[in-house]
Structures are given as C-alpha cells and as structure tokens.
C-alpha cells in the first residue's frame, strides 16, 4: 500500500510539473493524441479496455511526446473485492511501461476457505508493450490493424498459500500479441489479443498447476463503440487457463461505459462476470476505474 501511494504521489507530481499551461508548439508532455485514442487502463494496468489489452500505447503522447497515467480500479463481486493501483508511461507512442499492484480480498469467503476472514491475495504486475506496426488511428484506408507485442511479469505475494492450493509458481511472465483496428467511419474500435499464459485467476492464485503446467494460448476480444466525443461503450471477453485442480476457472467478460471529460480524467464503470472463482460460485459484479493522465 505504501509503495503504491508513493508511486501515485510521484506521478501526480510529474503531472503537476509538466502539464502546466502549454504554449510551446511542441511540448514534450503536450498530450497531442486525440481524445480516447489511447484507450483506458485495463485490469492488469496496461492500455486496453476493461479486461483486454489493446495494441495502443498508454497516455496522450504522440511519436514525439511522452504520456502517462495513474489509475485506481475497484471491482466488487458476490464474494470478493479487487483493488488495483498503478501507473503507466508511454514513450513516443512506441513503448509502454506499466506497474500495477492488485489486492484481492477474499472477505468472508476467506473464512470458508480456511484462510481467515479478509485474507488477501496480492500481486505486482510489471508490464511492457511495444507497438510493432500499423496505426489504429490513421490507417483508415486499409484493413491493417495496429499490432503490439507485450509482456507482463507477475508476482503473487502469498507464495506458500498459492503453492498449497496447487500452483507451481508464484511468479511468471505472460506474453501477448494485440491487434487493434479503429473503424472510424463506423465509430468502432475492435481488438483481438492472443496471450501465452499459465496464470491462475490473472496470477492472483499463482501459475500453473496439476491440470496444466506450461503456458497455453488464450484469446481476448474487445469491441468498443464511440457513442459521442466523451462516451465510449464497450465489451471484453477473455478466456483463461484452468490449471488448478481444487477449483474450476472460467472465462471472464466485462461490459463497460467510459466517460472522458478531458484528456486528463477517464472514468470507467463496468458490469463484469469473472466466472467461478475458488469454489465460491460465479462472481458477477461491478467495476469502477478512475484514471488521471496526460
């Protein structure tokens, strides 16, 4: 918690220093991208929709600028709550670096699972994403999407417990390839992402297990509709591995509405269905994410 607060403060300071009124024609922190084009911060802390990474680079920096954002995301389902806090930096619309810490609170389910009321599974996610080719915004006359390659190093903090429930490791790297196409004449943003992963419940329950010890290929998709300049409606679907024997793991989905009053504030509200988690049945609920950036 202390660490994330420091990160937050650090980025807010940077924001204050550099987003001061810009008169220079080419301000390094001038937020030169068009509103909404960097997407929002998805649950693992990278630019995307709600659950799915997109091929876009976080922040409003163009090819000659630097952008960045901080976010806090809160998810509440039938039995669990998830909080996530993190920051992103987008360098020259080419490379994105991100850090997010997630706190997964088992609430009273912790008691039923023998972990103790309010037991928390936490993890840190360090992400990097590089745009390889294509441009989602400008390539309106071809079918070529923007394609990016990304990696997420994840480290779960309760090593002994995640191993006790069957996971093989408490850290690993997810690798994904994302393709995003904006069909501007239809006001649509389409994304398909393929991920190699052995994460159990995004990594919160460790990596690998009795039913699968190596990475498997998973698919994620996202459809977003630009309702108006300041509102975007979207839906994400994400398949997940099912490596643990003690509890079944399902696919996850989210349907969300994004409000972008300016380039500096983004609010995402979502309905989400994360499927069955840790024997507590299907987890449906709400999701709220607030993002500050430039």
């Amino acid at each position: 918690m202390a660490q994330s607060r420091t990160t937050l403060l650090f980025f807010l300071t940077i924001l204050l220093i550099f987003s001061s009124p810009t008169t220079a024609e080419e301000n390094l922190f001038g937020s030169g991208k068009i509103l909404a084009t960097p997407g929002v911060i998805q649950v693992e802390g990278t630019a995307g929709g709600g659950l799915t990474p997109w091929a876009v680079i976080s922040g409003y920096g163009t090819n000659r600028q630097i952008g960045g954002s901080v976010h806090h995301t809160y998810v509440t389902t039938n039995d669990f709550t998830l909080n996530a806090t993190g920051a992103t930096v987008g360098l020259y619309d080419r490379l994105e670096l991100s850090f997010t810490r997630q706190w997964f609170d088992t609430g009273s389910a912790g008691e039923r699972l023998g972990l103790g009321e309010g037991f928390k599974f936490n993890q840190d996610i360090l992400g990097a994403k590089v745009k390889i080719f294509g441009d989602a915004v400008y390539d309106q006359d071809t079918w070529m999407p923007q394609v990016a390659l990304g990696a997420q190093y994840k480290k779960a903090d309760k090593g002994a417990i995640v191993r006790a429930v069957g996971a093989e490791d408490d850290d690993d790297i997810d690798v994904y390839l994302a393709a995003t196409k904006i069909l501007l004449d239809k006001s649509l943003v389409l994304t398909g992402t393929a991920r190699l992963t052995r994460a159990n419940q995004f990594g919160l329950l460790g990596f690998g297990g009795p039913n699968g010890s190596s990475r498997s290929l998973q698919f994620e998709g996202s459809v977003a509709y630009l309702l108006s300049r300041h509102f975007v409606l979207g839906a994400d679907y994400r398949t997940k591995p099912d490596n643990l024997a003690f509890a079944e793991e399902d696919d996850a989905m989210a349907a969300y509405m994004v409000w972008l009053p300016s380039k500096h504030l983004t609010v995402t509200a979502a309905y989400t269905d994360l499927g069955k988690i840790a024997l507590q049945g299907r987890q449906r609920g709400f999701y709220l994410s607030v993002q500050l950036g430039f």
Partner: protein, 138 residues
C-alpha cells in the same frame, strides 16, 4: 406479379435511400455548410497556439476555399479540388503528429458549431486520417 413489382419498387426505394443516407456530402449539410466550417477551421487554426505559427504567411480566404472544394469533393459533392496535392503543399513545413491532431480537434469544433452529428464527423475524419502520411513530416 403485382407482389413482385411492389417488392421490386420497395427494394429500389430502400436502395436509393440507403445510397442517399450514404452521401456524406449531404449529411455534412452541403456546400454552404462545408464552406462555413472550413472558414471557421482556418480561423481556429490561425488562432490556436499549437498551430498558428504554421499559418503566418497564409492567405486565409484562399486556403478556406481550397479546403471547401477538397472536403466537398471528398465527401461526394459536386466540386473539384484544384489545389496542390497534400504531399507537395505540406512538404518542408515540418508538421508534427501533435499539430495534425490539433487541426483535427479544431475541425471537430467547427463541425460541432455547425451541428454536424458526432458519427457523421467521424465519417469525414476517416477520409482525412490517411492524409497524415503525406502531411506529417516528423
């Protein structure tokens, strides 16, 4: 037979309305609306500190006229653009992506002021976006 004829006519009608609905030129409000928007765009571009420095030597009326013809033709209207092509007219200006996007935002404002609906605006922007390849130098 009568049924067939009715269906055919209905089908043709549907088709013509579909084609009509597809005319971006009409949806933008026709030539007069486009001319007003392009005049406003040049005004905004020349005032905005992000882009003004590029237009210090520019004859505003001429540019607005050329832009009007260009957008009119591009959107399917009865006009002919007779200016210099995008590559030649912007070469050596050293236009950046941020400047290009600033102009897009100014165009959005001009279209808002004219009352062009958001989704119609996006159809025009989709036609202009690929020009970035010829216009942006760095």
């Amino acid at each position: 037979m009568k049924f067939l004829k009715t269906t055919l006519i209905a089908g043709l009608l549907a088709l013509t309305t579909a084609v009509h609905a597809d005319s971006l030129f009409d949806d933008l409000g026709g030539k007069d609306a486009i001319a007003r928007m392009m005049t406003r765009l040049v005004e905004l571009t020349s005032a905005d500190p992000r882009t003004a420095h590029q237009f210090e030597q520019t004859k505003k009326d001429r540019l607005a006229r050329l832009l009007t013809d260009q957008v009119c033709e591009l959107s399917g209207g009865p006009c002919k653009y007779r200016g210099v092509n995008m590559k030649k007219s912007h070469i050596k200006l050293g236009i950046t992506e941020a400047e290009f996007n600033a102009l897009v935002e100014q165009l959005q404002q001009a279209m808002d002021e004219e009352g062009v609906p958001f989704h119609t605006q996006n159809r025009l922007l989709a036609l202009l976006a690929p020009m970035k390849r010829d216009i942006v130098e760095r």
